[in-house]
């Protein structure tokens, strides 16, 4: 499927305080066409794993009529970026939209943003 990322109001509202649960929840949502959810045999609120090359992330599925079948929309943030490749094709800009990904249902939990950062070698700021 084709992954597109972009800004949303809830993402923007919480962008100044990313450790908040709201930010983590909003940026880990995957908006999919209802037909695609049916095909995968899952419902809104279930989880999907998206995979691109060796990287993957777990997201919470939402149904949206605004998304074309065959594609998914994820608000801009660390969850989507966990799979976005870094190649910029000489432009400085990675492909944040139009990325070919595999999507499959999963029972794994959605990780917190701090978990994601620690996966990458960071250390949670927990004060």
């Amino acid at each position: 499927m084709i992954l597109n990322t972009g800004r949303t109001i809830p993402q923007g509202n919480s962008v100044e305080f990313k450790p908040s649960p709201e930010y983590g929840a909003e940026t880990s949502r995957a908006f999919l066409a209802p037909l695609d959810l049916m095909d995968m045999g899952i419902e809104a609120g279930d989880r999907v794993r998206i995979r691109c090359g060796s990287r993957s992330a777990v997201l919470t599925a939402s149904a949206s009529d605004d998304v074309l079948p065959g594609s998914l929309f994820v608000p801009y943030g660390p969850h989507a970026n966990h799979v976005v490749p870094a190649a910029t094709h000489g432009t400085g800009m990675p492909d944040f939209k139009g990325i070919a990904v595999e999507v499959e249902p999963t029972s794994d939990p959605v990780r917190s943003v701090w978990d994601l950062m620690e996966d990458l070698g960071g250390k949670r700021y927990d004060r």
């Binding site: 084709i2 597109n4 990322t5 972009g6 800004r7 949303t8 109001i9 923007g12 509202n13 919480s14 100044e16 305080f17 990313k18 450790p19 908040s20 990287r55 949206s64 009529d65 605004d66 998304v67 074309l68 594609s71 929309f73 801009y76 943030g77 660390p78 970026n81 966990h82 799979v83 976005v84 490749p85 870094a86 190649a87 910029t88 094709h89 000489g90 432009t91 400085g92 800009m93 990675p94 492909d95 944040f96 939209k97 139009g98 943003v113 701090w114 994601l116 950062m117 620690e118 990458l120 070698g121 960071g122 250390k123 949670r124 700021y125 927990d126 004060r127």
Partner: protein, 429 residues
Amino acid sequence: MIVRDVICPFCACLCDDLDVHVEEGRVTGVDNACDLGSHKFMTDHRMEGPVRRTASGWQDIPLEEAIRETAELLQAAERPLLYGWSGTCGEAQSAGVHLAERVGGIIDATTSVCHGPSILAIQEVGHPGCTLGQVKNRADVVVYWGCNPQHAHPRHLSRYTTYTDGFFVKNAFKERRLILADIRGTDSTNVADEVVRLQPGGDYAVLGALRAIVRGKGDVVPPEVAGVSREQLFRIADLCKKARYGAFFFGMGLTQTAGKYKNIRNAIELVDELNRHTKWTLTPMRGHFNVYGFNEVCTWMTGYPYAVDFSRGMAFYNPGETTAVDILARKECDMCLVVASDPAAHFPAEAVEHLASIPVVQLDPFPNLTTAFARIQIPVAVSGIDAEGTAYRMDGVPLRLRKVLDRGYPDDVTILSEIARRIGEGGGA
């Protein structure tokens, strides 16, 4: 106390008509702002003072020590990257450019993952633009392409386009036609007169087809282009040509998809072409409130809008090589100073990983995801709330951000100047 005509430091609309209520050093209310702007004024999760990451956890450190250590790290680095800048004022950006020059570093802004490709296109074919008041007072056709202003720039429609009357457009809602082009339905497509729903990655082809039609070569256009019917393409081309004044806005939908700057180039050349028939202008929907300011400051100081490498003692610019994501993904920099942005949240994981293996210092009022990689973070005042300075709107209009309260935090300019002073004293670099 109510502070009037405050400029909103959220997005590059820089709405300047906010009334901010301040009581006892806290913002208690904001009138006229959108949801995003109000949240920024009301949010209060600031870091209290400078911290250092140690093996055992986070440790408070004196400001003096944080500055000294930052200066030492910058000076010791062979190839430091100074990244961010869009969320601070021009004066801090200027201090940042001087600092980068001083230490022979690379300076880049969030531009490179935002409208960097737009700049590359402008460097190929130019930019027919205007200030937003031209659109408000004159435009009868407005196009938003690959952007969702209702979510990213919530007052854009009510201040500059669809919902605001202008001098020559007495009843905007009736007189202005709104065209939205997007691959998905959004709150913005919902209010449009004409929605162009194209297939992902189809922008270049659709813009090309429109150019062909405007040029009078419509016979080459097939029945359908990237999901858009020939009939609709002709209808839109006609609407555009018959406009008295047309305004074309575009966003990440063009800059971040395959084709990148070539998409923008096609959009610009469409607008050039339309100018042979009537009046058209084009404006990138810049995101952060002062991302354009960085481009302006960096340009008059170095000649280039972003991605400047000073390692040769002169300004060297080559996006794709000297841009932050590439520098990090190639594991090229050995130190990173992050100012007013959050690369850990917004960069691909592969680029973020490198931050874990080099010293990182961050100047930011809030703990954010980059904090997880910071050896030191210095909380600073928020530009436009407790620090003043210059910001450039998405159309290039410069405004003076106000300071509506004092929280006792130092501002970016103070910290950066102090770092520079210490490096100057230490000689070298």
